[in-house]
């Protein structure tokens, strides 16, 4: 929740869209809090989506320049998601090896570092000059759709 609150407070938006940004941030935190309290995944997912939407509002009316803090935001966003889903897992008062918890914390932190790296790569790639041709845009769109389709296929096969 602390991570989500920090992320919600991040977009420094001024102007007409500021109330919308604040509402989205507040709603995101409320959904996350409800999800964590009731251990429901649906409100958690909604809260994360609203948090992302709040970040998107920043760019719909924000500066044209690329946000250089995006890798850190991405790491925080993933950390928030990971910790939220960890909290909603069925919890039993079990005797446990300390090593298991430490390894999990390590895995989450490594994932967040990885997320920052991936986000940085995406931002750098977006800044590279490849020309503003329609073909390049079509290739980009096709790649994104194909990547998502492959992921959806993998998930469906497992389910």
């Amino acid at each position: 929740m602390v991570t989500a609150a920090a992320l919600g407070a991040y977009p420094p938006l001024e102007g007409t869209l500021r109330p919308l940004s604040l509402v989205l941030g507040g709603l995101a935190l409320a959904f996350l809090a409800a999800g964590l309290a009731g251990r429901w995944t649906a409100p958690v997912a909604t809260g994360l989506t609203l948090l992302g939407a709040q970040y998107a509002v920043l760019f719909s009316a924000g500066p044209e320049a690329v946000d250089e803090w995006t890798p850190f935001y991405a790491a925080g966003f993933l950390l928030s998601a990971e910790l939220s889903f960890w909290s909603t897992e069925p919890r039993v008062p079990a005797w446990s090896d300390l090593e298991v918890v430490l390894r999990r914390v390590g895995t989450v932190l490594a994932a967040c570092l990885g997320a920052a790296g991936i986000a940085a790569v995406v931002i750098i790639a977006a800044g590279a000059s490849l020309g503003d041709s329609l073909v390049a845009e079509a290739v980009g769109l096709g790649s994104a759709v194909t990547a998502l389709a492959i992921l959806a296929g993998l998930v469906r096969r497992l389910r």
Binding site: A56, G114, V122, G127
Partner: protein, 423 residues
């Protein structure tokens, strides 16, 4: 083994898709950068996740144990592939508990065997099946959950911890076999009974020389023989009073086990009639094997709710041998058992009733009408006791926290002073 996707696996690709599409729509790489890690993480998690092929083994330290003691259980888990997070649970039936690592949460390397020792505390007597192990494995990134249940049930018999008794209730009449009880009849034995004049056929070694010298004619000693007796433990299983983990049936079973043990040690023959919704019986017999039979039969004793009217005609005749002492352990809650015991007495059986009191398990109630009902119920119970006493049957109220010895002594005192009525 059942494999399922964690909720995260549905949400992460969805977040990635929304982020990428929003990024494309707005033309902002930041949103794609935000979504990409979710897509990559889900793809990596799904690609790396493998079925762990879990195995479990269970070793039970003992097949038999006495109530209140501990049995050590060893649960061994094995996985052919590495399991980052494994949650295990040995499902325990009510009556067994452990303070050991159950449930447990561990990590298993590929091919690793891990043993966990669980000391099981046998809280209540009974016949149990121990060994249902539930395992839940999660991959490193938490996208997939595999669950497996292993039915490795092994029998565990928990015998009731009977209290030690020093003396027993003796039947009015003994049987013809040798035992430890001094019979009322006169025959060859050790215990001196009386003197009488010598008659042809008497053995010379039985002549009492002092009495003969004093009287001038031969007198002989008479003695009481040592015989055994038949005891039938009558367990009323129609109904019980229960409050939480404790109940009147538990007390009855413990008392029956203690009585059977001591009677058998005294070379008596002991039988068991469990009279309730289901009728169980053991014909009278002696020896250590009979003790095991009785205790095993007691472990099966439970309350079966039944509205079928039953009287003693349903009890096989040979389970109630003539001249046997019928020692009933009953909470006097069911009219069928109450009627059957009265019927036994009217048929001439030597009957004694230890009333396993339901009072510790009953609360008088809060309202005035509830308290009135409680008092009426108590009066009704007293009327039942009076009815038995009028038939010459000793009824002694016994509570679980009072030594059984005290109840036995009370019955013995009653029988010492009461006139024996023969049918």
């Amino acid at each position: 083994m059942k494999r399922a996707a964690a909720p995260k696996l549905r949400v992460y690709p969805a977040l990635a898709a929304v982020g990428v599409l929003a990024g494309l729509a707005l033309g902002r790489p930041e949103l794609v950068a935000l979504a990409a890690p979710f897509a990559v993480l889900a793809a990596v998690g799904v690609s790396l996740a493998q079925e762990p092929e879990l195995r479990a083994r269970l070793v039970l330290g003992a097949e038999r144990q006495v109530e209140g003691e501990e049995v050590l259980v060893e649960v061994e888990v094995f996985a052919s592939r590495s399991v980052e997070r494994l949650t295990g649970l040995l499902a325990l039936p009510a009556g067994l508990r452990t303070d050991g690592p159950n449930p447990f949460f561990i990590r298993l390397a590929a091919g690793e065997r891990r043993s966990l020792e669980l000391p099981l505390e046998c809280e209540r007597w009974g016949a149990y099946g121990v060994g249902r192990v539930l395992l839940r494995a999660q991959d490193a990134l938490g996208f997939l959950v595999s669950e497996a249940t292993f039915d490795l049930q092994q029998p565990l018999k928990v015998y009731p911890s009977g209290e030690s008794l020093r003396s027993l209730l003796r039947p009015l009449e003994t049987q013809v076999f040798a035992g430890n009880q001094v019979a009322r009849v006169r025959a060859d034995g050790i215990e001196f009974a009386d003197l009488r004049p010598f008659v042809p056929g008497d053995r010379v070694r039985r002549v009492n020389w002092r009495a003969t010298a004093r009287r001038g004619v031969p007198w002989v000693n008479e003695s009481h023989p040592e015989r055994n007796s038949d005891v039938v433990l009558f367990l009323d299983t129609f109904a019980e009073a229960r409050l939480g983990a404790a109940g009147s049936l538990d007390a009855s079973v413990r008392a029956a086990a203690a009585l059977a043990e001591l009677y058998l040690r005294e070379k008596d023959r002991v039988g068991l009639v469990s009279f309730g919704g289901v009728l169980n019986w053991l014909t009278v017999s002696s020896g250590p094997v009979q003790l095991y039979r009785i205790v095993d039969s007691l472990l099966d004793a439970e309350i079966w709710l039944s509205y079928v009217w039953k009287d003693i005609d349903v009890i096989p005749t040979r389970t109630l041998p003539p001249r046997a002492l019928v020692l009933a352990l009953t909470p006097l809650l069911d009219d069928r058992a109450i009627g059957a015991l009265a019927d036994l007495r009217t048929r001439g059986f030597d009957l004694a009733i230890i009333e396993v009191s339901p009072m510790p398990y009953v609360e008088p109630g809060k309202t005035e009408s509830e308290r009135l009902a409680f008092r009426v119920w108590q009066l009704r119970r007293e009327a039942i006791r009076s009815r038995y006493r009028s038939l010459g049957v000793p009824v002694v109220e016994w509570q679980d926290d009072v030594p059984l010895e005290a109840a036995i002594e009370e019955v013995r005192r009653y029988r010492r002073h009461a006139r024996t009525v023969r049918a």
